[in-house]
Every structure is written in structure tokens, then in C-alpha cells.
């Protein structure tokens, strides 16, 4: 079986590249401000309602004791994220050794590494694909602010330009213990407040942005 160079196959790769470029430019243009930290949302939320029932407690307990992570380890912090799961620190003690390669089944997005503009639509897409309730931990200096690459021409200064971040873990890269501490902070947060902030009433840039997913559906 030969690939015929002249025949028009399923895709024209250059055209696809150009489409991708357009999405990236769109994304770059529409993310000038960073998304406010969900911690603020939740505080506002707490003031409005809620009485936590014991059923809520059980649900929160279930959610915080089985945080399955989506796979998102672009760079250096991925090493320490692997070390967290590895025997020495063993993240599985908290029931989180199951890495779901499919974002649909994951609860937690640990953004282990530098985010570039070329990658940004994909990360947004993964975040959109995750099923509620979902949480995000920004791991490392690059995840928080862009770190050492912040002045680079292709680097997004922090994941909170693209997706709301629940917990920030500083370090470059943070030690596995530091990450585990961050995860515990997240677990505390899950227990303390209503898990899903109501995004509709608050200023949420996510709704105004192009959704890369929609692009695919048209095709």
C-alpha cells in the first residue's frame, strides 16, 4: 500500500496548521486578564448559603479521598509529579495513583510544567473535557507565574490566564512533599466549601472565549 503524494487525502496538513495558528492567536488575544482565584469565589459563595449536611460530608469525603488526576505534565515538574506517585512518597496512599489518561474521568488537573501559547488551547480543551466537579493545582513557578520563562515570547505567564486555579504550589519544581501538602490543602478546601463554584454569576472569562472543541464539531 502506497501513499500517493498527489492524491488529496483526508487532510491538508498545512491548512490544519493554519487553523491551529488562528485558534492560538484568538486565544492569545482574548486572555489579557487572569482569572480570579476560585478561593475568592468560594468565599463569596459561603457567605450566601449553605448548611453542610452529613450527606454533604460523605460526598466531600468521597471526592477528596479519590482524586484521580488527568495527565498533564508538559515539563520539569512532571518529574516530581512522577516522584510523588513513585514508591518513596507514594501518592497512592491518598487514593490518587489512578491516572486517567482520558480527561473525562479525571477530577484533578495538576499542571506540571510551563504553559506555552501553542499549548494553551489544548490545556483549555482538556479542562473543558473534564467532568464536574474538577479542580486544578498549579504546580511550580511556571504554573503560577511563568517562572524563569515568563519573558519568553511563547510562554503564558501562569495557568490562571487560561483556567481557574484552586491551589498554587510554589517551587521549581516543588518537592513531592510540597506537592502532597498542596494536595492536602485542596482536600481541606473540598471538605470546607461547596465543591463547584457557581461560575455563571461571577465574572468568568471562560464563557467569552473561543472553545477549541467547537471547531472540531463543525468538521
Amino acid at each position: 500500500m502506497e501513499i500517493d503524494e498527489n492524491k488529496e487525502y483526508i487532510y491538508d496538513s498545512y491548512q490544519l496548521d493554519c487553523d491551529e495558528g488562528k485558534i492560538i492567536e484568538q486565544m492569545k488575544a482574548s486572555t489579557k486578564k487572569s482569572i480570579p482565584d476560585p478561593a475568592d469565589w468560594i468565599d463569596a459563595d459561603l457567605k450566601r448559603n449553605i448548611v453542610l449536611t452529613s450527606l454533604d460530608w460523605v460526598i466531600d469525603w468521597a471526592r477528596r479521598s479519590s482524586l484521580w488526576t488527568a495527565i498533564c505534565y508538559p515539563a520539569c515538574c512532571g518529574m516530581e509529579w512522577m516522584a510523588t506517585l513513585a514508591p518513596r512518597f507514594d501518592g497512592s496512599r491518598f487514593g490518587m495513583e489512578i491516572m486517567r489518561a482520558s480527561p473525562r474521568q479525571a477530577d484533578l488537573l495538576i499542571t506540571a510544567g510551563t504553559l506555552t501559547w501553542k499549548m494553551a488551547p489544548n490545556v483549555r480543551r482538556i479542562y473543558n473535557q473534564m467532568a464536574e466537579p474538577k479542580w486544578v493545582i498549579a504546580m511550580g513557578a511556571c504554573g503560577i507565574s511563568g517562572g524563569i520563562f515568563r519573558s519568553g515570547y511563547n510562554v503564558v505567564p501562569g495557568y490562571n490566564k487560561i483556567i481557574p486555579v484552586d491551589v498554587y504550589v510554589p517551587g521549581c519544581p516543588p518537592r513531592p512533599e510540597a506537592l502532597l501538602y498542596g494536595i492536602q490543602q485542596l482536600q481541606k478546601k473540598i471538605g470546607r466549601a461547596k465543591a463547584v463554584p457557581d461560575l455563571s454569576e461571577l465574572p468568568n472569562p471562560l464563557n467569552e472565549l473561543p472553545n477549541p472543541l467547537k471547531k472540531d464539531k463543525k468538521k
Partner: protein
């Protein structure tokens, strides 16, 4: 007389609906058994693999992390249910149901102890073989209905594997049936004065391999194949429906362990302990072996999977069948212990010859 069978017989036969009480009782027993065993299986797998990998595994939720599967289940059930736009909605919805039901049906003919089973069909084995492959339809529907290429590839692999491995699996069972002279599961357990794992070592190996391939346990977990196909056929599933698939995966493993226990490990029979406990212990041991292989072995490739079925297991199963048939035909009355020795020798020779002659897969294809 112990708890399970006592409870079964506690309902007087002359109650209105007589047989239906029995039916209802065992339906409940089976569902509870499957759910509890699946939770136990998940716990055993995660803890066991943890210890094999020099770590602890989940130990924070409840004592020794025993509540981990409960937390998982609760969490997964409460997650958002996403149906992709490009998915075939009805098929996508129906797939987990179709995949899950047959697994429960298998347990209808598994004796938990002497006479304690939903129905002792006289074609029990045939029923198992027929029902256990229906799950594949559900898996294929999931793969097709998701509208995802990874899912489709995974589902295709699963269908190919099941179609191929059904044959050596059935042939391996026939070896046992020849010795027993009956297709009923109850009769098979009764016939095992010596567990058939010793009388039929080759048959056991073939059945074990074929069973792992059919239910996609590692090293044959091609349809999920984390590193290749992200999550295989259930890539697009979340929430409750994913929980169903997750349940199917482990329920199938439990079902196959129960079948292996019944056919090869003399089912509920055993000294000292109550029979139903023996059954559960043996099932767990078989499941643990599956976990053990999963923790150790790399995954095979799809063409090697096919090659193994057709070039190695199928001839070996045929040899096993012939040898068993000859033994039963020529020496119907001598002690089975002699067959044990003979059959182990046959197994070793068959594997040795197979090693020399077997070439897995055809590797590269000219492009």
C-alpha cells in the same frame, strides 16, 4: 448446614410462588456478591500492586484504606455525565448496560456451595461460554457510539480478541467435560476428587490465558491499553456510565475467577472451612494471580495476541483434548493420579515444542 443454604431453604416450598422466592434470594445474593467482591477486588489490586511496587497503596480512607473502593464508587457516581456531541446518543447510553448484564448472568450457574446456586442448568458450561461473550457487544457499542478513534480501535481489538480466544477456551473446557461426563457446573465440582488443575494442567493454562485475554486483563489489556489508546473504548465515558464499565472490568475478572475455581479448583470443596468460604478464598486467590501478572508483564501486541491464540493455544488445546479423550476412552477405570503425571508431562512437552515452533506475529508490514 450453614448460613447460605439454610437461608435458601428457609423459605418453605409451599409458599405462594415457591420457585420465585429462590430466584429472588439468589438474585440478591449474586448482586451483593458481585458488588462486594468487586470492591474487594479493587482493594486487593491496588494494595497488592502497591506492595509489589515497594509502596503501600491506598491506606488513608478507613482502616487500612478499606473504604477506598467505596469512596471511588461514590465519587464516580456523582460526577457529571458527559455525552459528546458527535456520539451516537442511544448506543452510547445503552452500551454500559449491555456490557454489565451478562456478567451477572454468569453467576446464575456458579455454585457457591453444594447445591447453592440460582439454577443448576445441565448445560451450565455452555451457558457460561455463550453469555460471557455478550459483553463484547456492549464494548463494541461503546467504541462505536463514542465517535472517538481511540475508542473504536480499542473496541475492534476487543472483538478480535474475544472471537479468537473463545475457541481455545471452549476446547480447554471440553477436556474437563470429557473427564466429568456432564456440562453441569454442579456435576463438575462433584467430579473433582482431585482438582482438575492437576488432571488438566495444560487445559488450565490455556483456559487461564484465554480467560485473561477475553476479559482484557494484563498482559492482554489491549482494549484499554493506557499507553497507546488513552483509555480505549471508554475514553468518552464519565460519571455513572464509566462506573458501569469500571464495574464490568472487575466483575468480569471475578466471574472468570469464579469459573476457574469451579472448573479447575474443585469449587467449594475443601476441608475444615465452610464450603462457601472455600469458594470465596479460591476466587480471591485466582484473582490475585491476575493482579500479579498484571503487575509484572508487559502488554502483547494485537498481532501477537492473535498469533498466540491461533498458533499456540489452539493446537495445544486440540492436543490436550485428544490426550484426554484417549485417556478416558482407553483406561476408564484407573486412578486419576496416573493421568496427573501423564498430563503434566504432556503439558511440558507441548509447551517445549510450541516454544520452538511458535513465531509470534508477522511484525512489519510493507507500506
Amino acid at each position: 448446614m450453614n448460613a447460605v443454604s439454610y437461608a435458601a431453604q428457609a423459605v418453605p416450598a409451599d409458599w405462594p410462588g415457591g420457585y420465585w422466592w429462590h430466584w429472588l434470594f439468589y438474585t440478591v445474593v449474586i448482586i451483593v456478591f458481585v458488588l462486594v467482591m468487586v470492591m474487594g477486588a479493587i482493594y486487593i489490586e491496588r494494595r497488592g500492586m502497591g506492595r509489589m511496587q515497594l509502596r503501600y497503596g491506598p491506606n488513608r480512607t478507613g482502616p487500612f484504606g478499606l473504604l477506598q473502593p467505596v469512596a471511588d464508587a461514590l465519587k464516580v457516581l456523582l460526577k457529571e455525565n458527559i455525552v459528546p456531541n458527535v456520539a451516537d446518543k442511544i448506543v452510547h447510553w445503552l452500551a454500559p448496560v449491555i456490557a454489565f448484564t451478562p456478567v451477572l448472568l454468569i453467576f446464575a450457574v456458579i455454585p457457591f456451595q453444594n447445591g447453592a446456586l440460582l439454577t443448576d442448568l445441565n448445560i451450565g458450561i455452555l451457558f457460561i461460554v455463550a453469555v460471557s461473550s455478550i459483553s463484547t457487544v456492549g464494548v463494541f457499542m461503546a467504541g462505536w457510539g463514542s465517535g472517538n478513534k481511540y475508542s473504536l480501535l480499542g473496541a475492534m481489538r476487543n472483538v478480535a480478541a474475544v472471537v479468537s480466544y473463545e475457541i481455545p477456551m471452549v476446547l480447554a473446557i471440553i477436556g474437563v467435560v470429557i473427564f466429568t461426563g456432564s456440562l453441569s457446573t454442579g456435576a463438575i465440582v462433584d467430579a473433582q476428587d482431585i482438582p482438575f488443575i492437576l488432571v488438566q494442567p495444560l487445559g488450565f493454562l490455556i483456559f487461564f490465558i484465554a480467560a485473561s485475554a477475553e476479559i482484557n486483563r494484563s498482559p492482554f489489556d489491549l482494549m484499554e491499553a493506557d499507553s497507546e489508546l488513552t483509555a480505549g473504548f471508554h475514553t468518552e465515558y464519565s460519571g455513572m456510565k464509566f462506573a458501569m464499565f469500571y464495574l464490568v472490568e472487575y466483575a468480569e475478572a471475578i466471574a472468570m475467577s469464579a469459573i476457574i475455581t469451579t472448573i479447575f479448583l474443585s469449587g467449594w470443596r475443601g476441608p475444615w472451612l465452610p464450603p462457601w468460604l472455600w469458594f470465596i478464598i479460591k476466587t480471591i486467590i485466582v484473582f490475585f494471580v491476575m493482579v500479579w501478572t498484571r503487575a509484572t508483564l508487559p502488554r502483547v501486541r494485537i498481532d501477537q495476541l492473535m498469533a498466540l491464540a491461533w498458533k499456540f493455544l489452539f493446537p495445544a488445546a486440540v492436543i490436550n483434548l485428544f490426550v484426554s479423550a484417549i485417556e478416558v476412552l482407553v483406561w476408564p477405570d484407573i486412578s486419576q493420579w496416573i493421568f496427573v503425571g501423564v498430563n503434566i508431562a504432556v503439558a511440558v512437552i507441548a509447551i517445549g515444542v510450541g516454544t520452538k515452533m511458535f513465531k509470534p506475529g508477522w511484525g512489519k508490514v510493507a507500506v
